[in-house]
């Protein structure tokens, strides 16, 4: 009989075999956690040629180590401690930094514990091919495991573990290279402990680890590449050195932040409020935080109250008494203009007081003139940071901050980097490459922001390229909006069909898996209508009369879910990307282009898999019934909007295809009429089209507004119809997890200002009680003299609204499902699965609801759906902003091109008045700009007017909604090389334009 033994580990060894710790849960309970630990002897050292270790998998460390450092001619291995990774990740990631690294498990776990983003970067680094990193599981190795002794802090224990592992490696290397008697001893590579922690180094020396080094010194010893690597060194690097006494003498400029635990306690108790910090677009000394407790955002005025918060940080604020509440200032304060004389090197010293005085003056001036009757907002100050959201920022080097004495020298100097985004403060960084970096777009990360330092300190990551070169600008846009743009990896491409672009719909034979439950619609007269040059065609349409007098209409959507299976690498990547991003001259795909532009794209004359929604409609466009089915279609034609329009209007043509388009068009008109009657809004946003000279050079030559044709609305109506029908279907089937889209009605307070302006300037009223009422009153906003006035009001009204969002049907109450803009009780996105991930999720749910497949477990989980939709919502917003920024950049380029030939003058509308300027909107170019005035114009905030001395005689008064003519120039900002549209008033002529 087989003897069964249970190898129970004696409790007597619990001290060694168990790791226990306490954890405080989010709900404030304390739990004790126990982990079993099994120590083993077969943890490999990772050094090639080591016969003592058993290695499974690839060995990454060369047997002799690296000989690049001047200090170690016999070769060396580097063992960095945790802080090196926490502070110097950019250095570690650099391609120039390539000594063989031993990454200890202790370090890896500590990094994960301290910062998840850094941990993810570290994991990616371990996997990357060009790094020589060996992960040594020292906690599981019987000779390197350490047990915490009484009263030892976790930090000390980890440091001890690291030192023990280093010592083990040193002795292990002697074992690998034994000295054979009679032979000259072989050179033994050194094991170097890389740490900036002085104490750790001292303890190490006491324990016999002779070789430890500060990061900076070590980088110095690398010789060749050191100057490039030096810039990557984070400012945090040498601060652990106790010798840096300079710091302590400096005067604190900001109040200290409270420790996180105190902050959280305060937030929980309701004394502090937590929210995202939003810097003001117009005034660098003002920011706001939206919190749940106040209906209006809390205003933070002045540097001291903003207390080192950076755009996007999650901060905790304290709100002042109500008597201190203030209205935001209607003044534009530009950082560059106000702080021109700031010097990077000694801004901490003498310049200080002067600066403070200057800023205080600005603030007080504002206060003095601030209107007493304007709506007050709560004010407050930042007392602590809950979470920093720092990332790499695209910047320019401020050329004036370069000290003139070494304008060309390669010595290290401190300079200012001005971020492209106006919402960010400038960043101080030390670099040796300053002269070379001028005129370049560079990537800079913030390392820290001390209370003693006016500006955050950061370090240079890499250069993106010359300012205004298209590649650099494009990449900087993508980086700035956090768009993932790397090419798809191998794991993702492996998920594509192995046939590649020769994949075709297999012939229809019984039992073919592709044809299972698929309808054969290859004979239907289906066509697609898209913008010109469209490659990813994800929708196609058809319509035909039925014998009973009704009309059958079908919308056919690319069957992306046939190719993208849940939870494989391609799906995960698509979910993370969320959406395809369209730049003016580039598309960042969500799915590999083989799918997007070929296999899924419903191109004409080829058979494609589709997901069809087919309605039976009465001639009055009432839905008789709808069904959904997977299908195979063969599109008969791919129209552009214009072609379809021409075809429809051509009376001579009477073929089936043309009839189909006409039928669709007539239905669409009825659908639209009904939608409008239900209270749908006809919104406007400035959309312009960039004319590129040719596909290759992509130099913009002109900008024009997009034209809307009847066929645009044809496609739109049917897509809306499909989305609504699908939304109903999946909500019925999966009431808890259906992926839907909604548009919440805007709070009436959002419209207050616009209503006030309209009433005072034009005597018009805006009824915002419902979307129908708003639509009706928007129609009445006409000015006979200004035909574009209506569009302008619509644009402004659109800005008052909330943005639509995806949501999971189980997580909000049923009565908030509605889509305000479309006046539909329920809505989703189904029609563009190639470029939107939400549609892919909807496709899966729809397929499950018609019994085609079973629903993947993740789509049954409310949590998972919510989490995915959060990502998609964010990506979606970012993609829109990226697209807009890209258009702006090209408009700028086009203007520059035009401006070289002639002066660009355009009509513009005033949309906002400031105390010292006007916000204007140039509808022809779809851009907004600021016109600033010197001196003290008379500003009437009540009536939204600004009165200026005229150039000719007397005074001119300019009010919101007035039409003016502006002169548009693109000029490079002298300091930052940032391309900037500046506008000056031409008509009416005024005396002091800036």
């Amino acid at each position: 009989m087989v003897e069964i033994t249970i190898r129970k580990r004696p409790r007597a060894e619990a001290v060694v075999t168990q790791r226990k710790f306490f954890k405080k849960t989010a709900r404030g309970k304390v739990i004790k956690v126990l982990r079993e630990r099994y120590l083993r002897n077969d943890v490999g050292c990772g050094i090639a040629g080591c016969r003592n270790c058993v290695h499974a998998g690839k060995i990454t460390l060369p047997s002799g180590g690296s000989t690049k450092s001047k200090f170690f001619s016999d070769g060396h291995f580097v063992v960095p401690d945790t802080n090196v990774f926490l502070a110097q990740m950019d250095l570690m990631e650099s391609n120039h930094f390539d000594p063989p690294l031993v990454l200890l498990q202790t370090v890896l776990e500590e990094v994960r514990h301290r910062s998840l983003p850094l941990y993810n970067r570290l994991r990616a680094m371990i996997k990357s091919e060009d790094k020589r990193i060996w992960v040594f599981y020292n906690e599981f190795h019987s000779e390197t495991a350490v047990v915490r002794v009484q009263d030892e802090t976790p930090n000390d224990r980890n440091d001890r573990g690291i030192r023990k592992a280093v010592a083990w490696y040193s002795s292990h290397i002697s074992l690998i290279n034994p000295t054979v008697r009679g032979q000259r001893p072989k050179p033994k590579p050194t094991v170097l402990l890389l740490t900036d922690d002085v104490q750790n180094r001292m303890k190490g020396e006491k324990e016999g680890i002779k070789c430890s080094s500060v990061v900076r010194k070590y980088v110095e010893s690398l010789g060749d590449n050191s100057s490039q690597l030096f810039d990557l060194l984070s400012a945090e690097g040498d601060e652990i050195e106790p010798t840096n006494a300079q710091n302590t003498t400096r005067q604190a400029l900001y109040p200290e932040h409270l420790p996180l635990s105190t902050v959280l306690a305060g937030v929980r108790g309701g004394h502090l409020h937590q929210g995202h910090f939003n810097a003001s677009q117009f005034n660098y000394l003002e920011g706001s935080v939206s919190t749940a407790a106040f209906s209006r955002p809390v205003l933070l005025i002045g540097r001291e109250n903003m207390n080192r918060a950076v755009q996007g940080d999650v901060v905790a604020i304290e709100v002042f008494d109500e008597k201190d509440w203030k209205a935001p200032v209607d003044q534009v304060i530009d950082q560059e203009a106000a702080l021109k004389n700031d010097d990077a090197e000694d801004s901490e010293d003498e310049g200080e007081d002067e600066m403070l005085v200057q800023e205080k003056k600005v603030l007080q001036e504002e206060r003095a003139t601030a209107q007493t009757n304007a709506v007050k907002q709560p004010t407050g100050r930042v007392v602590g940071i809950v979470k920093r959201n720092w990332r790499a920022y695209v910047c320019h080097i401020d050329s004036t901050s370069l000290s003139s004495s070494h304008a060309t020298s390669l010595s290290q100097q401190t300079v200012f980097a001005t971020p492209v985004s106006r919402l960010l403060p400038r960043i101080r960084l030390r670099t040796r490459q300053a002269p070379a970096l001028i005129g370049q777009k560079i990537l800079v990360t913030i390392d820290r922001w001390d209370a003693t330092s006016r500006y955050p300190e950061g370090h240079f990551v890499r250069a993106l390229g010359k300012v205004e070169s298209k590649e650099a600008e494009q990449e900087s846009l993508l980086l700035e909006f956090d768009v993932p743009y790397r090419p798809f990896g191998k794991a993702i491409l492996d998920c594509l069909p192995p046939e590649g672009d020769s994949w075709v719909v297999p012939p229809k034979i019984p039992n073919d898996p592709v044809w299972r439950d698929r309808e054969d619609l290859r004979d239907f007269i289906i066509c697609s209508i898209d913008p010109p040059g469209c490659q990813d065609i994800d929708d196609a349409l058809h319509a035909r009369r039925l014998p009973n007098g009704n009309i059958e209409a079908g919308v056919h959507i690319a069957d992306v879910s046939h190719f993208v299976h849940p939870e494989n690498p391609m799906d995960t990547e698509a979910a993370a990307r969320g959406t395809t991003v369209y730049l003016v001259d580039k598309r960042i795909d969500m799915l590999p282009s083989l799918l997007g532009t070929n296999l899924c794209s419903l191109r004409p004359f080829v058979e494609r898999l589709a997901f069809s929604a087919i309605w039976e409609l009465t001639p009055d466009a009432e839905i008789v019934n709808v069904r959904f089915t997977k299908s195979v279609i063969a599109s008969k034609c791919a129209f552009t909007y214009e072609e379809a329009q021409v075809r429809k209007d051509d009376k001579k043509l009477n073929d089936e295809l043309t009839e189909g388009v006409r039928l669709l068009n007539s239905l669409a008109q009825k659908l639209k009429a009904r939608r409008m009657a239900a209270g749908a809004l006809n919104l406007a946003s400035p959309e312009v089209k960039i004319h590129l000279e040719s596909a290759e050079s992509s130099d913009p030559i002109d900008v024009e507004q997009k034209k809307l044709l009847e066929t645009n609305s044809l496609v739109e109506e049917f897509m809306l119809l499909a989305n609504i029908s699908v939304a109903q279907k999946i909500q019925e089937t999966f009431p808890q997890t259906a992926v839907l889209r909604r548009h919440l009605p805007p709070p009436p307070t959002n419209f207050e200002k616009l209503q006030d302006i309209l009433l005072k300037r034009k005597g018009l009223t805006l009824d915002v009680s419902s979307s129908g009422a708003l639509a009706a009153s928007l129609d009445k906003c006409e000015d006979p003299e200004l035909p574009t006035f209506n569009t302008l009001v619509r644009i402004l009204a659109t800005r008052c609204m909330l943005s639509a969002e995806y949501f999971c049907s189980g997580s909000v109450s049923r009565d908030t499902f509605g889509h305000y803009g479309l006046a539909s009780p329920i809505y989703t996105h189904f029609t563009s699965p190639i470029r939107r991930y939400a549609d892919v999720m909807v496709h899966r749910q729809l397929a499950a609801s018609i019994g085609y497949t079973s629903l993947h477990a993740t789509l049954h989980s409310k949590q998972h759906v919510e989490r995915s939709l959060d990502v998609i919502n964010r990506r979606h917003r970012m993609a829109q902003m990226t697209g807009r920024a890209s258009v702006e950049f090209y408009v700028g380029l086009a203007l520059k091109g035009k401006g070289e030939k002639s002066v660009v003058k355009e009509e513009a509308f005033v949309i906002r008045t400031f105390r010292n300027g006007l916000g204007v909107f140039v509808s022809k170019l779809g851009i907004e700009g600021l016109v600033m005035f010197k001196g003290e114009p008379k500003y009437d905030a009540e009536n939204y007017t600004l009165t200026l001395p005229s150039a000719e005689h007397g005074e001119v008064t300019i009010a919101v909604f007035d039409k003016v003519t502006v002169h548009i120039e693109v000029e490079k900002d002298r300091n930052t090389q940032r391309g900037k549209v500046t506008m000056t008033l031409v008509d009416p002529p005024v005396a002091h334009t800036l």
């Binding site: 001290v15 405080k24 404030g28 126990l34 047990v147 802090t153 409270l258 108790g269 004394h271 100050r381």
Partner: protein, 339 residues
């Protein structure tokens, strides 16, 4: 109180007569004041904050089921005072459950009754205010620890109360309270760049000011790896001595550590719970069990001799607990280092 075994009259009389002899005879050959061997181990439940296992009268060579065996474990839980869960200063709750295996002849209802009786005795004694540890406070008036002491009787072959309190005391002595640091946020009265900020912040808050109460409080763990510090009244946790009274005469004879059979044969038991602290000895609780009666005069004498026995037991337990502590920490570590 239901005895754990039932004996016939003649059996009872046999045992009683043997014990009442001038030179008393017990079935296992002990003298009247001898204990059976007591085995003690602490730290038996790794996930508890303190635990112990006690066995009285285990016969050598037998694996389990012999003797009286009791396991006690202490668990600490955070309670909010304002939320109405706990009380300021923390509280202590004891529960005893009897394993059906220990009392195979009892119905489940009777077993519940027995458990309940034991719970009452343990709880009334240990959660008495005179024994309240002061370090169960996390944040005054806000948060405190709830200490739950759960004791399981695995087997009973007599003298279960002594075992119960031995285990309880050992588990409580073994208990470590995680160190916490209170985190408070005190809103400043005014802050917008005004000069007197410092002054107002430093002004001492009077007792009557609402500031103190309004300031929010939470806590964090001082060291998430550390077990913490022991309860501050470690030495005072009482020990129990059960005097088994043979007769109700004016000069009662008693014996210690009765087996189940002996318990069934005698009319009266006296439970005495003594707490020994530097400040003096306290009788925490006492209880008479059985259907016999006793003269008041003899109580003084019994108390005196009870205290002596309790002191010896206390001393022995103290030594053993120290030994246990050493075994679990230093020795294990030393062995680890020797590898």
């Amino acid at each position: 109180m239901s005895a754990t075994v039932s004996l016939s009259k003649s059996e009872k009389s046999y045992i009683r007569t043997a014990l009442g002899e001038l030179s008393p005879i017990r079935a296992d050959g002990r003298s009247l004041l001898d204990y059976r061997s007591i085995a003690l181990e602490t730290g038996v439940a790794s996930l508890a904050n303190g635990s112990a296992r006690v066995n009285i009268g285990k016969t050598a060579g037998e694996e389990s089921g012999s003797g009286t065996e009791v396991i006690a474990a202490v668990k600490l839980e955070v309670e909010g005072v304002l939320e109405g869960e706990g009380v300021d200063g923390g509280r202590l709750m004891c529960t005893v459950s009897c394993s059906p295996a220990a009392y195979p002849h009892l119905s489940s209802a009777a077993l519940d009754d027995l458990s309940y009786d034991m719970t009452i005795i343990l709880n009334q004694c240990l959660s008495h205010p005179s024994l309240h540890p002061k370090n169960l406070v996390i944040i005054p008036k806000r948060r405190s620890w709830l200490l739950t002491l759960d004791v399981i009787v695995l087997s009973d072959s007599g003298n279960v109360y002594d075992a119960l309190f031995l285990a309880a005391r050992s588990a409580l002595c073994d208990t470590k309270v995680p160190k916490t640091r209170s985190v408070q946020y005190q809103p400043k009265s005014n802050a917008l760049g005004e000069q007197d900020v410092e002054m107002s912040a430093e002004a001492p808050a009077s007792i009557f000011s609402t500031k103190e109460v309004k300031s929010t409080a939470d806590f964090e763990l001082a060291d998430y790896w550390d077990e913490g510090e022991p309860l501050d009244i470690n030495q005072e946790w009482p020990v129990c001595v059960t005097l088994n009274l043979l007769s109700a005469k004016s000069l009662p004879t008693y014996f210690l550590d009765a087996t189940s059979q002996e318990e069934a044969a005698i009319p009266l038991r006296l439970l005495l719970l003594f707490s020994f602290s530097p400040s003096g000895t306290r009788l925490q609780s006492m209880r008479l069990m059985g259907d016999g009666e006793i003269q008041l005069e003899s109580m003084t004498q019994l108390l005196e001799s009870g205290e002596n026995h309790a002191r010896k037991l206390f001393q022995a337990l103290k030594n053993k607990l120290q030994e246990e502590d050493f075994r679990r920490n230093q020795k294990a570590l030393a062995r680890f280092d020797l590898r």
